[in-house]
Symmetry: C2
Subunit: 457 residues, 2 copies
């Protein structure tokens, strides 16, 4: 392999790091639909949301017009502990695939939370601290978000209460232990600590839990405890705002070398990584300054964009949260027990849902074993063992690069490598042992959950 | 926290990365003692060593005079996938400790092997490949070295056979699974695959294995299989040579900002990290160009420098390896079962042993619970969950920084953060649950093993 001008890894200098988050909504002609009060079906007011979320975060959540929000200095300093994250030129992958395509990935896994989730965790914890709160509550599924929030809270001296989906709690004791190292309290959900947990346990005694259920418990805990608020790691507008740091760094790094991606790929569960990665590029597209292809990659076992409907739905199982308009499979949908890793939320960020509905973004779904095949291939070639979630984007990027080999096109492919798979070795083991299936929900199943959607005018 | 001129992380540019390894032996007046043939007690010849190690590596092992060895381009390209590693200014730790000391650490954990071991693994695998070998054999204790070698072999298409100390094999299934992801074959040691393994099992039926025993098995496997050689992750001169990349990068980064460390601290098991980190600095000291304090930090449960003797000893339990002169506890010494993580080898690199014997380096031993206390403190403050091994250095660095707080000295402290603890959560759990003890071998115990040292003139 000969010397090339573009380095294997592009790191920004500290002074090149973003000083403001970019709010994509400011450039959207069709704004994302507002959250609705589940009782009145009227848009949620700042006052109503203030019972659940911190004040500053409510402002960020509701603001569809301000293009840039300054990143407070304390958050910028925290970012400096693990950012800038590298933008990697995948020379080895290109060579192995014998593709004329140029492949780049923005790697967010080089921190102890193992993913990009820390970018929003520190922001949300910071505003909670600033408001003088005692602590925050949240839910976690695969565990990255819970870990990230634990780290942020520990740093700021905030109490952190995590409801962890019971099956993850049992299958991932090491994730629990990391959160414990950071001083968080972790409860398997559903639990007997909340009314909604008790209710769900009474109705489904053997349940191993779900994200929607853990959200309900975390929200209840926040609103019934003085000095606590609820925080969420994805889906919300505020989270996509914070995650714009990924896209902003990426764009600065690419611009330094005069590189323009043709296609930008990200995995999509609730949309936090994808929304953050594409933000400044989508902004250019919306303003007519540049054009890009955007591809959201979701699991075939939880296909909210590719097989869901665009409608108002509950964000949680207990129906304690506001209603959100989004591509959704229905709030009672839970992916097959054999589904590994995250990307298991029934809905999708309202911002991304609107962009997808407007035809500004594509979506594909990929099968689980194809994802793990790509993950292992990537690990061996690029030396990073990826998270199952991130590997959805790897799968799609490899597929695009192989197409380029066939057509001879020298496309520039950019994807988001959201995290590492060090706490997902049980899933890798299943894959190696041939015990991983590719269950895909039937049309009948999806129709059943669709019928349960709330009726909104 | 106000803006400071020195960034949180100093990354070198790709073109600033070392192009040659530095061989500290070239500047040592008292050279490390040669390896001896266990039968004749004569220095091992290149021909004899060639049966066990690759030719190029034998040259590197025996060469006490050449100061620099060019790093082959393929290895440099592999390094670019995960290097340069950041030199981190521990602003948050300094602030939390309220110390006037300036603390820096070179962080080697941002790769999937989770440690600095990859630096030598790729070098050793490269020379094996270049020699046209089919594969390599090795042993692994805590698992970092086995993982690193698996990654390097997978990248180069070499077969990789790992003997993993049985208790680690059983306690760290995820480490095994990572190696499997990289296509390595992993056998718990002692095994029935080798004569020496059978013999040890016959004599000690319930044994959970030891590093010395796994080394014997790996060496036997290599010398009895056509096209295979043995590779080792620490102790050897060649390994310290490759690991000099750590110190060289560190020195370049410090020089860019005109920083001169007063004290340089590293954890020491076999000596690979410490020897690599200090190499260029010790070179300056040996040449009379500068002075530094060097501190080797070892576990109180396996105190080869602080309580061992400087003598020729066997490198392995089966006595199939050459004899090495080193600070040693005796080749049958095995640390207490409660000892977590690596740093469990009975001896110490011959290079470091000689430097220590010449009074050029200090050594301290630290207790296990003190180490984990430092680890958790560091994780919360600096955001990186450290490996138990690395945490020995953290402990000593914190102790030095606290001394500075008491004396008011503005010392510059540099330490090596060799890796992450993501696969060590069982040990963290033990610590959190108060189930970790601080067993320290008695003088009588150490004397017993000392009596078993071979008698060499």
């Amino acid at each position: 392999m000969s010397e090339k001008k573009i380095p294997y890894k592009i790191y920004l200098e500290e002074q090149e790091m973003p000083t403001a988050w970019y709010n994509l909504r400011a450039d959207m002609k069709n704004k994302p639909a507002p959250l609705l009060n589940p009782g009145t079906h009227q848009p949620m007011t700042a006052e109503e949301l203030g019972g659940v979320f911190c004040e500053e975060l409510v402002k960020q959540e509701l603001d569809n017009d301000t293009a840039y929000f300054d990143i407070p200095e304390d958050i910028r300093n925290f970012y400096k502990m693990y950012r800038p994250s590298p933008l990697v030129r995948a020379y080895c992958l290109e060579e192995k695939l014998k593709t004329p395509a140029k492949i780049y990935y923005k790697f967010e896994g080089n921190n102890t939370s193992g993913s990009h989730k820390l970018n929003s965790a520190i922001a949300q914890a910071y505003y909670a601290k600033k408001q003088g709160l005692k602590g925050v509550t949240t839910e976690t599924g695969a565990g990255q978000w819970g870990t990230a929030l634990s780290m942020a809270c520990s740093y700021l001296g905030l109490d952190c209460k995590v409801y962890m989906v019971k099956c993850s709690y049992e299958q991932k004791p090491f994730r629990r232990e990391v959160m414990r190292t950071y001083g968080a309290s972790v409860t398997p959900s559903p639990s007997m600590e909340t009314e909604v947990g008790k209710k769900i346990l009474a109705e489904h005694p053997g349940t191993t839990g779900s994200l929607g259920c853990a959200i309900s418990e975390a929200v209840e805990k926040a609103v019934t405890n003085e000095g606590y608020r609820y925080v969420l790691g994805s889906v919300l507008n505020q989270v996509l705002l914070h995650q714009s740091v990924i896209g902003l760094e990426t764009k600065t790094a690419l611009d330094k070398y005069g590189i323009k991606p043709d296609v930008i790929i990200g995995c999509a569960g609730g949309g936090s990584n994808l929304g953050g990665l594409i933000a400044p590029f989508m902004g250019e597209k919306l303003r007519g300054e540049a054009d890009y292809r955007f591809i959201a990659v979701e699991p075939a076992s939880c296909p909210s964009l590719t097989r869901g409907v665009y409608a108002y739905d509950f964000c949680d199982t207990g129906m304690v949260c506001p209603l959100a308009k989004m591509y959704t499979l229905g709030s009672d949908f839970i992916p097959s027990a054999n589904h590994a890793g995250g990307l298991r939320y029934h809905g999708m960020s309202s911002i991304l849902s609107q962009l997808y509905d407007d035809g500004l973004m594509e979506a594909v779904s990929v099968k689980q074993t194809d994802v793990f095949e790509a993950a292992e291939y990537f690990a061996r070639v690029e030396g990073i063992l990826p998270a199952p979630e991130s590997s959805h984007a790897i799968r799609a990027a490899i597929d695009e690069a192989v197409k380029c080999r066939e057509t001879g096109e020298e496309k520039t492919i950019l994807f988001g490598l959201t995290g590492t798979g060090y706490f997902d070795m049980v899933a890798y083991e299943k894959f190696h042992d041939g015990q991983m299936d590719d269950y895909i929900p039937t049309d009948e199943e999806l129709a059943k959950y669709r019928e349960m959607l709330p009726k909104i005018d």
